[in-house]
């Protein structure tokens, strides 16, 4: 097995490079993805090696980027679109939700739309407004899209390539504050399927569900909880639509307790869906209600306040305490 220690950003970069090498129909497009290599350098060096026709610096128009990516897919290409920041995806919402998600159905299965939309998401980097949002549920709520979130370099490397090979549109969330995290990357190609969750820390007392940037926070919470003899089973959901509910249910039936953690506001958030499904399927196994830890029902605050807004280790442990003491 060929492994290397890479940052999450570099792992994505290498994953994109593999995808471009493997299939001449793969394209990378977005704002500043060429010479600059993207504002987070995720596409660094790709234009130099694959040319301007395959790594395309686009005009600054998100709807235009996604709309033309759809057209390129209709002509047989596999575009990977970069939306520069989470808060900039909304100008493209119509093309994603109304066009990209529904076009296959509208053709009664005649066409495929293998378009990947990469979105750096979440807060914690001290950014100005519109640069720290977690818009995942707008897309998980839209049939026709697949929504995934990577949390670590190994998954970043594998999941971006799996997303590119997928014949459906994939919304690919990247945890921007974890871009610089380092970990070994498995280049073997023998990876967990894209739509499967992974138990990242086995445990027996409480199931903690997370994805993207919150996985690391929950792993830290699991280490801290051990000091109090509490064993947290942390599951990285990885795929939000479809959801690997079986892995979740198996765990909750064992632990009887569950906490869901995400950066997005709790109200109408992804945790609501998880809590409802777990209540329905594990009703008699539950020792406590499913609790949710997330952002407040407010706009994302100015960055001097974000540490209060974002779930952290203590807020996760607080919820763990509450489900344990219910």
């Amino acid at each position: 097995m060929s492994t290397d220690v890479l940052t999450l950003g570099k792992a994505l970069n290498e994953g994109l490079r593999r995808a471009l090498e493997d299939d001449p129909k793969v394209l990378v497009m977005g704002e500043d993805v060429g010479k600059l290599g993207g504002v987070f350098r995720v596409t660094d060096g790709l234009q130099k090696d694959f040319g301007e026709d395959r790594v395309i610096d686009t005009p600054l128009a998100e709807s235009g980027i996604v709309g033309t990516a759809i057209g390129l897919a209709l002509r047989g290409y596999r575009p990977i679109v970069e939306i520069q920041f989470d808060g900039f995806v909304f100008p493209a919402a119509d093309q994603i939700i109304t066009q990209l998600a529904k076009m296959r159905l509208r053709s009664q299965g005649a066409i495929k739309l293998p378009v990947v939309i990469r979105i750096p998401c979440g807060g914690g980097i001290g950014a100005v407004e519109h640069h720290s949002e977690s818009p995942e549920v707008y897309f998980t709520h839209t049939a026709g899209l697949r929504v995934v979130a990577c949390s670590n370099p190994a998954d970043a490397y594998a999941m971006i390539q799996q997303s590119v090979r997928c014949d459906d549109p994939v919304i690919f969330f990247e945890p921007k504050r974890r871009y610089w995290d380092k970990a070994p990357v498995d280049r073997s190609g023998e990876w967990l399927p894209l739509d499967r969750a992974r138990v990242v820390n086995p445990g027996s007392d409480v199931t903690v569900l997370a994805y993207g940037p919150m996985v690391k926070t929950c792993l830290e919470a699991a280490s801290a909880a051990l000091e109090e003899d509490r064993s947290l089973e942390v599951i990285d959901l990885r795929s939000l639509n479809p959801l690997d509910i079986d892995t979740v249910l198996e765990s909750v039936r064992r632990t009887g307790r569950c906490v869901v953690v995400h950066e997005a506001p709790v109200f109408s958030g992804y945790g609501a869906e998880l809590a409802a499904r777990i209540s329905e399927k594990c009703f008699y196994h539950l020792e406590a209600p499913v609790l949710r830890v997330g952002g407040f029902s407010t706009p994302y605050p100015a960055n001097r306040l974000e540490e209060h807004y974002l779930p952290d280790l203590d807020r996760v442990l607080d919820a763990v305490d509450r489900v344990m003491e219910w």
């Binding site: 235009g64 033309t68 057209g71 109304t98």
Partner: protein, 385 residues
């Protein structure tokens, strides 16, 4: 509009946007409303008598098809219909200019273009009957799905054209142009303007074909633009022109030339086909609330079919027998379509779950199984077991 204002500096005022096309040298016309052939130095067009008779047949057939669809809607057999009445020449002229490899991105009103591509009109009827959310294979006739949200398809068309460009076929015998249809209202949409930007900076092989039918439901053109629409192209860096949209010859010649330019790598062009929506926006609309009968009467005199008929008669290219034959064929065609439309079966309930994803999807499978079991529970009850 005066000749000076048309040729000179950008003129002012809303009048200029709609104007009176006859008075304007901007308007490319090869066949007058009276059926008189006029020459244009940039658009020579040699059509054989058979070709002209063919165009006449196209125009009559699509109008008859459209009429039948309106009738089906009135009778409750279709949920809605967007009539092309008055726009037949713009659609047949541009549609007949297309090569086999060219790709069409229509709105929901391009029934005439669909006809030129050989799409089974029943598929269009099925959509408006509520049996599908469209439901054809765009690759089969190089005719993309109808797009309902205004202007979205112009970006798909531009992306497709960028794909053709990347295929490296421009300038070869495998070259393909893309044509994006849209209306006057759509020119206000961000997506249309973004598609102009993308097409321009990438020099994509695309023809933007705007049917300016003067009305976006109830809003007249002056609510969309203070300058003639074709002039917008200049600001984006590619040529634009205005053609008499009720003149099938001019629409054919102008579109043919624009497509050829695109295929040879000369980039995008905007064609504004100046026409008129003779019917309602859709069958749920009531134009008497917002426009004057006199306007409609004025446009009746510019009818796209009558002028071809006049040309054929004037030049002894067709006799009464010919016109009667076409009318009979159209009548038969409409009756046949009506019969086939009424025979279309409703989809099975489980069709809700089909064709959403290309690859297996756990949630869809789960809900599909649940719903199937639910439906089955009624059957079990009904059977008394």
């Amino acid at each position: 509009m005066t000749i000076d204002s048309a040729r000179g500096a950008p003129s002012t005022g809303a009048d200029d946007a709609s104007g009176t096309p006859e008075a304007s040298p901007e308007l490319i016309q090869l066949l007058t409303p009276e059926g008189e052939r006029v020459e244009h130095p940039d658009y020579p067009l040699d059509l054989t008598p058979d070709e002209v008779r063919g165009l006449y047949r196209d125009l009559v057939m699509v109008r008859r098809f459209d009429m039948e669809a309106v009738a089906l809607t009135r009778q409750g057999e279709l949920g809605l219909w967007a009539s092309l009445l008055g726009q037949e020449a713009a659609q047949i002229g541009s549609g007949r200019a297309l090569g086999e490899r060219d790709m069409v991105f229509p709105t929901y009103r391009e029934h005439g273009v669909a006809w030129t591509r050989g799409l089974d009109p029943l598929k269009v009827l099925a959509m408006f009957r509520g049996l599908s959310n469209c439901g054809w294979d765009p690759a089969e006739h190089n005719f993309h799905l109808y797009t309902v949200v205004i202007g979205s398809q112009t970006l798909h068309a531009t992306g497709y054209a960028m794909g053709v460009q990347r295929d490296g076929v421009l300038g070869t015998d495998k070259a393909a142009a893309t044509i994006a249809y849209f209306g006057d209202g759509a020119t206000s949409q961000g997506d249309v303007n973004e598609s102009f930007v993308f097409a321009s900076v990438f020099n994509a092989p695309i023809v933007f074909f705007c049917q300016n039918n003067q009305w976006a439901i109830s809003e007249p053109l002056e609510k969309q633009s203070r300058i003639p629409l074709y002039r917008r192209a200049q600001g984006f860096g590619f040529p634009g022109l205005r053609v008499d949209g009720n003149d099938v010859f001019a629409c054919l010649a102008v579109t043919r030339k624009a497509l050829e330019a695109a295929r040879s790598g000369q980039g995008p062009m905007l064609i504004e086909a100046f026409t008129y929506r003779m019917g309602a926006h859709t069958t749920t609309d009531d134009p008497t609330r917002y426009r004057l009968e006199a306007e409609l009467e004025a446009w009746k005199l510019k009818d796209p079919i009558e002028r071809v008929k006049a040309y054929l008669v004037r030049n002894d290219l067709a006799d009464t027998e010919f016109f009667d034959e076409i009318d009979a064929e159209a009548k038969q065609y409409a009756a046949d379509l009506r019969r086939r439309c009424l025979e279309l079966p409703d989809p099975e309930p489980m069709a809700i779950f089909q064709d959403i994803y290309a690859e297996p999807h756990a949630l869809i499978s789960e809900e599909q199984a649940q719903f199937a079991a639910y439906l089955e529970s009624f059957e079990t009850e009904g059977s008394g077991s």
